[in-house]
């Protein structure tokens, strides 16, 4: 038997379930993963991405670049190994296939190969230090548990998932329009959230202080279960970023979707939470009185939440309200329910490790696929391909000699194609330009230096 035949045979043995030629039972295990890493995980694309053009032939390319990137693997049995580094796509691919990590994290590019870090740490000059790292964001729907009543914790459904959608819209728009970033990758985290990778050169070279500044710029929701008022919008008007987010995304979503879907004003328990946010006790009492009276009578066919919201708005926004704190009260309520809740710590430090796209989530079996920010309304977390589903699709396609692009035969094909055309190719084009320009500039500089 040739090796190929032997391999194929092994594959057959693993997948074949008696009675159902192609069916693959749901699950997440090393065997499934092995096939996934063998046939579906886009090693070459990940390599190209992480190389940022330095894998080319141009003299300006930094051959050491990819080798200085840290990866970390979480193996079966929760064994965690850090500071993995590779010098070529083959090394990367072989290591993944061999170790079969349950999770792969990507860290920063260091000043020297992480494998050699001990040698440099000895010198005492602190030479082992991160030098580049994408600007990253992590949004998790479990941080919104106080405003969604359909699910809690790790669960997510189509009623509450839109909270993630609007978070993507708000942050993505700001990253592009305000900060001028272009190469942005949004990824489903596999269970209950999204990750964002900003890959422009400018972003990768941001210092910790600058990252913290961007995180603070986005930081509006400041609270936890112990604090009462979590959103405070002082000032006569909102900063253009907040104003745009409100009028273009948050207001519409809150009034049309979240309010009725989550019945935010339908019951006393729920409307009390909103009334608590009104600083003027007399206004709150007035509304409370009205709503208690109206418990059984339904004045119109309209959704009760919408009716009550209109009442609330009309009292708070009427010209009669002079009190300082009431000026922005309506916006504060909307923001506190809908504004993105970012994990600040993830974004602040260069050395924070973040899960790699196209990993499979151990608890759900779902693949961490990219999300198109321009079409994020269409994204449905409940239909994201799972590991077992993909293997089943592979089975249906039958065995093929052509080991390339197996993902095309599966639901993963769409994601990989999107990753390539919308993200990777434009990014690499821009990287190439950057490398060439920087190289030419250096040449010019050395010419200038030489000619006294």
């Amino acid at each position: 038997m040739t090796k190929e035949e032997a391999d194929n045979g092994r594959d057959d043995m693993v997948i074949d379930v008696p009675g159902q030629a192609n069916a693959v039972p749901d699950g997440f295990n090393a065997n499934y993963l092995r096939i996934y890493y063998g046939k579906l995980f886009p090693h070459a694309d990940m390599f190209k991405w992480m190389s940022y053009g330095n894998d080319g032939k141009h003299p300006g390319c930094d051959k050491s670049y990819f080798g200085r990137r840290e990866f970390s693997f979480t193996l079966e049995n929760d064994i965690y190994i850090r500071f993995q580094s590779f010098n070529s796509v083959t090394e990367l691919e072989n290591s993944i296939k061999e170790k079969c990590p349950f999770k792969i994290d990507i860290g920063p590019v260091y000043s020297v190969d992480p494998a050699k870090r001990h040698a440099y740490a000895q010198s005492g000059n602190n030479v082992f230090t991160p030098v580049e790292r994408e600007l990253v964001f992590d949004i998790d729907i479990s941080d919104y548990d106080d405003v969604r009543y359909c699910c809690t914790g790790a669960d997510v459904c189509l009623e509450c998932w839109p909270l993630m959608t609007i978070a993507i819209k708000v942050i993505d728009t700001s990253l592009r329009d305000d900060f001028g970033f272009n190469h942005i990758l949004w990824v489903y985290s596999g269970r209950r959230g999204v990750h964002c990778w900003v890959c422009d050169g400018k972003a990768r070279r941001l210092t910790n202080e600058q990252r913290a500044a961007i995180a603070d710029y986005f930081h509006v929701y400041k609270g936890n279960e112990n604090s009462q008022k979590k959103i405070s919008l002082p000032g006569l008007v909102l900063h253009p970023f907040l104003a745009r987010s409100y009028t273009e995304v948050l207001k519409g979503f809150f009034e049309a979707k979240l309010l009725p879907n989550q019945n935010l004003l339908a019951s006393e328990e729920r409307y009390e939470k909103i009334l608590e946010m009104i600083p003027d006790a007399s206004v709150a009492s007035e509304l409370r009185r009205r709503w208690q009276e109206n418990k059984r009578a339904s004045m119109s066919k309209d959704d009760i939440n919408i009716v009550r919201w209109e009442q609330l708005k009309s009292i708070l926004q009427s010209g009669k309200q002079k009190m300082q704190g009431l000026r922005r009260c309506v916006e504060e309520i909307v923001f506190s329910y809908t504004y993105p809740r970012l994990d600040m710590e993830v974004s602040r430090h260069m050395n924070h490790l973040l899960k790699a796209p196209f990993c499979v989530h151990p608890k759900t079996g779902r693949v961490c696929v990219p999300i198109d920010p321009n079409n994020c309304d269409e994204f449905d977390p409940t239909t994201v391909p799972t590991l077992s589903q993909l293997l089943e699709e592979l089975n249906r396609g039958g065995l093929r000699q052509d080991a390339e692009n197996e993902w095309d035969r599966t639901s993963l094909g769409e994601s990989v194609a999107f990753f390539r055309t919308s993200f990777l190719q434009p990014l690499l084009k821009s990287c190439k330009e950057e490398i060439e320009n920087s190289y030419n500039a250096k040449l010019q500089q050395s010419k200038n230096d030489l000619s006294w």
Binding site: F179, G180, L206, E209, A213, D216, Y217, P234, P240
Partner: protein, 452 residues
């Protein structure tokens, strides 16, 4: 910087490019010894005038004008080069003077930074840009066209911070957002496509922060150099000048009698009640009560009386009479008369001593048995209140005075006392006990005049 006693050579290749110097390093100029002192005194007048203005809580527009007036009055020179040289030399001399203790450094840093801020603001845009590039701040001024197109957004940002977009602030600078992380973090700037639009007052504060941080470090270094080498090296030449400079009082010295000519002994009791400031009233009451005063008290009161117009013979008679119950005439002639004559410049090196200014009086700490010093500083609250009531200050005014005392604004407390006692305002504030006396006499004379 070399200090020489011979003629000064002005070297033309030391012309400084930007009009507002950054005082980065002492320039290689030669300075005459007199100029060393006089330039410093002129600059000190500016800094003290500034300090005064700040103490009085002047509004920003008033401060703006004050700084301009002070600078014009003290530091101007018809030739630009000379003016710049004086500017730089005086700054460096004062660095020596004010580097020596933490308190001196704090004051100097504060005043020089305030001065710098105002001078930066009133410079031309080119001068400002030149300075910004010296600080390595790569800012580009926003063109009128661009400003017009962004006016709404810029106005929104201003209003979101509770400010307005005044015409004066219509100068904006465009800078990569990475350069101003603090402003980005606080959402205090409008950002678009990676550029932050920074208002002039924000730029000023960035520039001033740099200036301040640099000067703060420089002062510590100067202090080290002073204590280790300069003070000793220059002990016969510069050190005495330097040490005298920081305590120098810069107003009129009241050593010559002014408008009111002489006061004779019989007048003293009367004027003590009506026109003496509290410090001198207290000393006067004590000498009458105890028939004695210790040295500090004799100096403070004695010189004050000289400034008030008491001739030497009258002074001798006064003290002799007051001390008579405890000190015999012979003992008085032997132990006290000499000192009184000394104060009037009739003995020893014949220096005609000048009466103490408030600054000097406030700075001394009376010991046991002493009654000199500033009562606003040293009296217990109870004693001070009682003393003020005895002076005829209304209880409402006493509260205002005590408020100033609690905030350590002793001269302002004395000023309020003056105003309460005389029923008229004292805009200039009290800086010298003799000034209090003269102003008091003036007020009383004009009142008597109108009554008569």
């Amino acid at each position: 910087m070399e200090v020489v006693q011979s003629q000064r050579k002005s070297s033309s290749n030391n012309v400084i490019v930007s009009i507002l110097p950054l005082y980065r390093s002492a320039p290689p100029l030669e300075v005459r010894l007199e100029d060393f002192e006089f330039f410093a005194i002129d600059r000190l007048r500016v800094l003290k005038g500034l300090s005064d203005g700040l103490c009085r809580g002047k509004k920003p527009e008033e401060m703006e004008k004050l700084v301009l007036d002070l600078w014009k009055a003290n530091m101007r020179h018809p030739q630009a080069v000379e003016e710049v040289n004086k500017d730089i030399i005086s700054h460096f001399v004062l660095r020596l003077v004010y580097c020596r203790t933490e308190e001196l450094r704090k004051w100097f840093l504060s005043m020089e930074t305030t001065l710098f801020r105002h001078r930066f603001r009133w410079g031309s845009s080119e001068a400002q840009r030149a300075l910004m590039s010296e600080f390595k701040l790569p800012y580009k001024a926003v063109s009128n066209a661009e400003f017009e197109s962004l006016k709404d957004k810029l106005g929104q940002v201003a209003r979101s911070m509770g400010q307005t977009l005044a015409a004066a602030d219509a100068i904006f600078y465009k800078v990569p957002f990475e350069e101003v992380p603090d402003l980005v973090a606080g959402r205090r700037v409008f950002i678009h496509k990676g550029h932050a639009y920074v208002a002039i007052n924000q730029v000023v504060s960035l520039v001033v922060t740099q200036f301040r941080s640099y000067l703060s470090k420089a002062l510590i270094l100067t202090n080290r150099k002073w204590t280790s080498t300069i003070r000793e090296q220059e002990k016969d030449r510069l050190t005495p000048i330097v040490e005298a400079l920081c305590t120098s009082y810069l107003g009129p010295d009241y050593s010559q009698q002014q408008e009111f000519g002489e006061i004779s002994i019989k007048d003293i009791d009367q004027v003590a009640k009506t026109s003496f400031p509290l410090c001198m009233r207290h000393l006067f009451e004590k000498v009458k009560e105890d028939h004695h005063l210790k040295h500090g008290g004799r100096m403070q009161l004695g010189l004050f009386l000289k400034g008030v117009g008491l001739k030497l013979d009258d002074a001798l008679a006064f003290w002799k009479a007051e001390f008579a119950p405890k000190v015999s005439a012979e003992r008085f002639d032997k132990e006290y008369a000499y000192n009184i004559r000394h104060n009037y410049g009739r003995e020893g090196k014949r220096t005609d001593y000048t009466p103490y200014s408030c600054q000097k009086i406030i700075s001394v700490t009376p010991g046991i048995g002493d009654h000199h010093g500033c009562p606003y500083r040293h009296f217990s609250e109870e004693n001070l209140r009682a003393a003020l009531v005895r002076m005829g200050v209304s209880s409402r005014a006493v509260e205002d005075v005590m408020d100033k005392v609690h905030n350590r604004h002793y001269q302002l407390a004395c000023t309020l006392t003056f105003e309460a006692v005389h029923g008229s305002s004292c805009d200039a504030g009290i800086n010298h006990p003799n000034q209090y006396f003269i102003d008091s006499q003036r007020v009383l004379q004009s009142k008597n005049g109108s009554v008569a």
